[in-house]
């Protein structure tokens, strides 16, 4: 909102309809305004990372996109669906949007394979054989095909998150939303999850990622969006925003995140 960088979208993808388009999005819980006039565009095949301090509204923005949160006002279009239309077929929209949560949210009463097939069978009405084939393909992609018959509880956090990614991919989504996918993980398992996300990005998946992993954002994202206090403060190519931020708030946030041991004078 506060910079001219808002419309800094890649010209190469300008001809296609955007995968995500957000205009003037507001969201409040009672008196607490969490999102104040957010504009955001994600083009097909693009990887966009949302960064910013906790409480800046990144996760809320992500959750508004597939209506896990109800926005107060603004226009949202997600893979062709007008999300803010009251008559929207929410379930149909969500079938096209994969979501990966911080807490994995695997179904503990189902096996890893069943986690990946249940929605294919119940929602997409695929046959069990077809669903299992798709699930196994995606479990292989995340390197966990041999865990198919185990329960989520028998896996490490990193493995569970990889299954959660495979579960979302099994629905063949147009767009993947990641809500701090590595924040609940042990440091040694973070790398495996990021590696899979990197592969997905290279394969051309459209991804919107809320993350605190600055090196991932710098290396993988096409664009980085910095949010603070419910507004987009700065956005642009990953290397520019992280390497040479224009805005003071971005600079101070990045210096705190990148040098956590350095004690800064308050801005």
């Amino acid at each position: 909102m506060s910079t001219s960088a808002t419309d800094n979208t890649p010209a190469t993808t300008g001809s296609q309809a955007p995968a995500v388009s957000v205009r003037g999005l507001n969201k409040a819980y009672g008196d607490l305004e969490v999102l104040r006039g957010i504009d955001l565009t994600v083009h097909p095949g693009e990887v966009v990372c949302l960064i910013g301090p906790s409480g800046s509204g990144k996760s809320t923005l992500l959750r508004c996109l597939n209506l896990l949160e109800e926005p107060q006002s603004g226009d949202i279009t997600v893979s062709g669906f007008d999300v803010t239309d009251p008559d929207i077929d929410v379930d149909a929209m969500r079938r096209n949007v994969g979501m990966v949560f911080q807490q994995f949210n695997l179904f503990p009463h189902l096996t890893v394979l069943e986690n990946c097939t249940v929605s294919q069978v119940k929602v997409l009405k695929r046959s069990k054989t077809e669903a299992e084939r798709t699930a196994m393909t995606n479990l292989e992609r995340v390197g966990l095909a041999e865990k198919a018959q185990q329960r989520p509880g028998q896996l490490s956090g990193g493995q569970q998150q990889r299954v959660a990614i495979a579960r979302a991919l099994s629905m063949n989504p147009d767009l993947m939303l990641f809500d701090e996918p590595t924040s609940a993980l042990d440091p040694e398992t973070v790398g495996d999850v990021l590696a899979i996300m990197r592969t997905l990005a290279n394969e051309g998946m459209t991804m919107l990622v809320v993350t605190h992993e600055m090196s991932f954002a710098r290396d993988v994202a096409d664009r980085v969006v910095f949010m603070d206090g419910g507004v987009v403060v700065e956005e642009g190519p990953a290397r520019e925003v992280i390497g040479s931020p224009k805005h003071e708030r971005t600079r101070s946030f990045l210096s705190r995140v990148l040098n956590p041991t350095k004690v800064d004078a308050p801005e």
């Binding site: 597939n66 896990l68 379930d91 149909a92 969500r94 079938r95 949007v97 994969g98 979501m99 949560f101 807490q103 949210n105 695997l106 179904f107 503990p108 009463h109 249940v118 929605s119 119940k122 929602v123 997409l124 329960r151 989520p152 509880g153 028998q154 959660a164 579960r167 979302a168 629905m171």
Partner: protein
């Protein structure tokens, strides 16, 4: 001469064993075993109880319990869903119901249905319907609370993940939330069946024929027989235990199973 903590603990344990042994010896020496045998656990009287105690009393206790549980569970599910409803009046009605029937003695409900309603309205339910309603409406209050707690114990993320995969509200509840909630409520639900089994003894308040006797009524009639002593009641008590102890074991089995699921999630 100061004792260490360990020595003191040893001495304390020794004293506790000594007291226990003394009490046991006193019981063995002082009790009149002949009279106890004749009047409390008389094999001849127990033999007289057969086969009725099984074919009539135990059977009816099981039937009454099952009837009460069916009504209690059905009504309990409805009340639990009402209590979680986004429509406030539904929540109020459910809360009122639960507080009322948890708060009044089951005995009172039996008296109201068995005697109050016939007196007030000149109308009497069929015996089994009376039992079914009286046991069911009280059980429903407890079952509703267990179910509500179980549904709320499933993390919100489970529902959100299901919806994010394109499942409808109903599909997410049926396939993802309710199976997990059921595992959580199985132990309290088993407890509820045990309570119901015992509450079915209140049926003895209602007038009924021999064919409808349950364990407590059967035992009560038994002790009025000449020279029967306490034995018929002891026999009835043992029959209750035959039902409730396995249920208790089952409940504990469920509990360890649920723990495993919880730990693994």
């Amino acid at each position: 001469m100061a004792m260490t903590t360990r020595q003191r603990a040893k001495l304390s344990r020794g004293i506790q064993y000594a007291v226990l042994i003394l009490v046991l010896i006193a019981l063995v020496v002082l009790a009149d075993w002949q009279i106890l045998y004749e009047r409390v656990f008389n094999p001849a009287v127990i033999a007289d109880q057969f086969p009725g105690i099984i074919t009539i009393a135990l059977k009816n206790t099981l039937i009454y319990t099952a009837l009460g549980f069916v009504v209690g569970l059905s009504l309990g599910v409805i009340l639990a869903l009402m209590k979680l409803s986004s429509v406030a009046p539904y929540r109020w009605i459910a809360t009122l119901y639960i507080e009322f029937f948890r708060g009044v003695p089951a005995l009172l409900v039996f008296l109201a249905l068995g005697y109050g309603i016939p007196l007030a309205f000149g109308f009497r339910f069929n015996h089994y319907v009376t039992v079914m309603i009286a046991l069911g409406v009280v059980a429903a209050a407890y079952i509703a609370e267990s179910l509500r707690a179980g549904l709320q114990a499933v993390p919100a993320g489970q529902y959100e993940a299901a919806r994010s995969l394109g499942m409808s509200h109903t599909r997410a509840m049926v396939t993802i939330v309710i199976p997990q909630a059921l595992r959580i409520v199985l132990p309290p639900l088993t407890n509820e069946v045990i309570l119901l089994t015992k509450d079915s003894s209140l049926v003895y308040l209602l007038g009924m024929g021999l064919a409808q006797y349950e364990l407590t009524k059967f035992g009560r009639e038994g002790i009025s027989g000449a020279g029967a002593g306490l034995t018929p009641l002891v026999a009835a008590g043992i029959c209750y235990l035959i039902i409730t102890v396995p249920l208790g074991l089952l409940s504990r089995r469920f509990e360890t199973k649920t723990d495993r699921v919880k730990k693994s999630s």
